[in-house]
């Protein structure tokens, strides 16, 4: 059972040969293939990460733009509203003023007309009373 002979050195040489051959046909090419695949995957991952980052930055940019646009539109709306409010206020004030003046004018006119009417009425009263007197008393006596 424990009979050592030339099997031992020959087996050692044979094993070393096997190691050398396997190194050439198995370890080296497959290690290279594995490393290349690792590199390939890492590359792809890196590019994917990059594009993801790019997409994210784009999204952020667009979001910022949207936010800016929204703010702008809001400010425009606010401005327009303020303007509209101002215009309405102005117009209302103007219209009120106009109405006021028209009212005043109308009142004045009415007053004037009343006065003229009263004046003519007084005149007429005067002449009528004079005529009445003439008629009653005779023209000679009225003077």
């Amino acid at each position: 059972m424990f009979d050592f002979d030339a099997t031992m050195p020959l087996m050692a040489v044979q094993f070393l040969l096997l190691t050398a051959i396997l190194n050439a046909v198995f370890y080296k090419p497959l290690t290279k293939a594995l490393d290349e695949r690792d590199a390939y995957i890492r590359n792809n991952q890196a590019t994917a990460k990059e594009s993801l980052a790019k997409a994210e930055s784009l999204v952020k940019e667009y979001e910022a733009q949207i936010a800016a646009a929204r703010k702008e539109s809001q400010s425009i709306v606010e401005k327009a509203q303020a303007e509209a409010r101002e215009i309405t206020a102005q117009k209302t004030a103007e219209a009120q003023k106009q109405v006021q003046t028209q009212k005043e004018q109308a009142a004045q006119e009415i007053q004037q007309q009343k006065e003229t009417a009263l004046a003519t009425l007084e005149q007429q009263v005067d002449s009528l009373s004079r005529q009445i007197l003439e008629k009653i008393l005779g023209p000679e006596l009225v003077k």
Partner: protein, 248 residues
Amino acid sequence: MEILGSLTILNTFTLAELEVGEHFLWKIGNYTVHGQVFIVSWIVIGVLLIASLAATRNIQTVPGEIQNFMEYALEFIRDLTKNQLGEKEYRPWVPFVGTLFLFIFVSNWGGALIPWKLIQLPSGELAAPTNDINTTVALALLTSLAYFYAGFKKKGLGYFKKYIEPTPILLPIAILEDFTKPLSLSFRLFGNILADELVVAVLVLLVPLFVPLPVMALGLFTSAIQALVFATLAGAYIHEALEGHGEE
């Protein structure tokens, strides 16, 4: 051998027999070699070469079935080596540790799974190459050489400082360690595989059908673990030589 002889006489009619220490000897010049070990080891080497050639003949980024399988094996080996040697040093040692693992693993499983008894040899029997002490001692000595080489390459003659650090009192133990390492490595592998085959053989002697199956399954499991242990220990020894004592 006489004891064995008296044991097998009882079972002249059985399907299986115990054969320990019988070899199919070849003569090369003045030396003898164990032919059955080499035949099976060539088959193992052939399987490994065919599998790796099939996997690497047409390497694609998206692997096919066999390439995927071999890549899985390679990643397993790389993880094993990386765990033992660390991220920085492991790459040059992947082929050695990995081939240790692959060769022992395929040998063990080949010895257990292929019905070698169907092939008759003039003497001895075909079995896993790792159940011959020559093979395991060869692998263990190569491991020893590997860690000496690793230590010398990294530190030059400063490698010997590890024997007298932290204190020269431990020098004999440190030297003894260099002998016990390959001894325990080779005997562990040899003993496990041989014990496995003996247990299966004894059970087959007693009950030829079905009963040995669970033991065979256990044997497959242990032999896989033994391959892992051998490779792990080789990695650990190389790491120790690279790092020196007490720097963990």
